[in-house]
Symmetry: C2
Amino acid sequence: MATKLKTVQFWYEFASPYSYLAAMRVNEVAVAYEVRVDWKPFLLGPVFKQQGLNDSPFNVFKAKGAYMWRDMERICNELDIGFKKPSVFPQNGLLAARLALCDEVRPKRVEFSQGVYLMQFVMGYDISNFVNLHSVLENLGLNSKKAFAQSQSNEVKLALRNQTQWAMENGIFGAPMFVCGDGELFWGHDRLEQAVAWGAGSGHKG
Amino acid sequence: MATKLKTVQFWYEFASPYSYLAAMRVNEVAVAYEVRVDWKPFLLGPVFKQQGLNDSPFNVFKAKGAYMWRDMERICNELDIGFKKPSVFPQNGLLAARLALCDEVRPKRVEFSQGVYLMQFVMGYDISNFVNLHSVLENLGLNSKKAFAQSQSNEVKLALRNQTQWAMENGIFGAPMFVCGDGELFWGHDRLEQAVAWGAGSGHKG
């Protein structure tokens, strides 16, 4: 008898370094716990603006930013995944986020998102650039012309706006954020395992 | 033959919730790794001020604050240690930090610091109150009259100022922060194990 898998929402912003780490690992961890992951791209820009910040906290708070880049380097080294600090930070993830929500991309949202992250944080390329995104799409066998057209539709623009609005109204103040079925939030790549365990119902309940 | 133990500095602020968690666990973890912990009380107020914040980030950024209190509740439940949200946050940890640096308290700095945290985050008492600090000191068999007198000396005031200044000049932007012998920083209770492992020389080197 098939049982319905429990779901953990994975909220990610394409420009977010720690979201990159989580994106590369979350599905693997979820499989071990028999949890389904719902990938939710959103924009941090409006979230930070609501907090009174006009830039990434990693730029506003210099020491925190310096720590983060060193920390990324250490973690990627430990996980043995590539890392290159992008020349511009934060990058503009608007187009990538819209693409991720398109019908053409949806069936491969995970692979597309991981591809965008690798392009940004391993190769150091610009993720707001059409040509770069085109190559990610085409590598996955997706119709990039169709995807770009859909990404500019009012429907997709509104979907991303609604998603970001939902995040702000539900306590999501940064990324990555994991939202469990019972509404529990877990913030940061540090909490990936704990979030998935909780979502599976095997975490301690507070 | 006696070998010199490696040291990890543990930088903590008395008003910081995640510092409480780290303070209750760091020595136990360090023993397992044969690492010595150097307890460094400092003040976050001047650090936040330098960042342009006039209050704790947990108050400035409401959603982040709400998350933190729920997170504290979950973690304390999981670790099976007490937790009560203090009625005032952040509390004024100036006097406690000065006391921790006194000659009279130094030999029992760990126990004193843990006592102050328990008073604040388990009992919900005010840690800027003389009477409450007096009871922590006396319970440890310390001479509270002597300790209070020392805490008001220019020497102790300057020591705390210098400690906080060192923190700001060395990339410490929050608490708890762990500083390893090679200068590597690890931020947050989440990173306690990783920091101690690194400090012991058994962490991966980036």
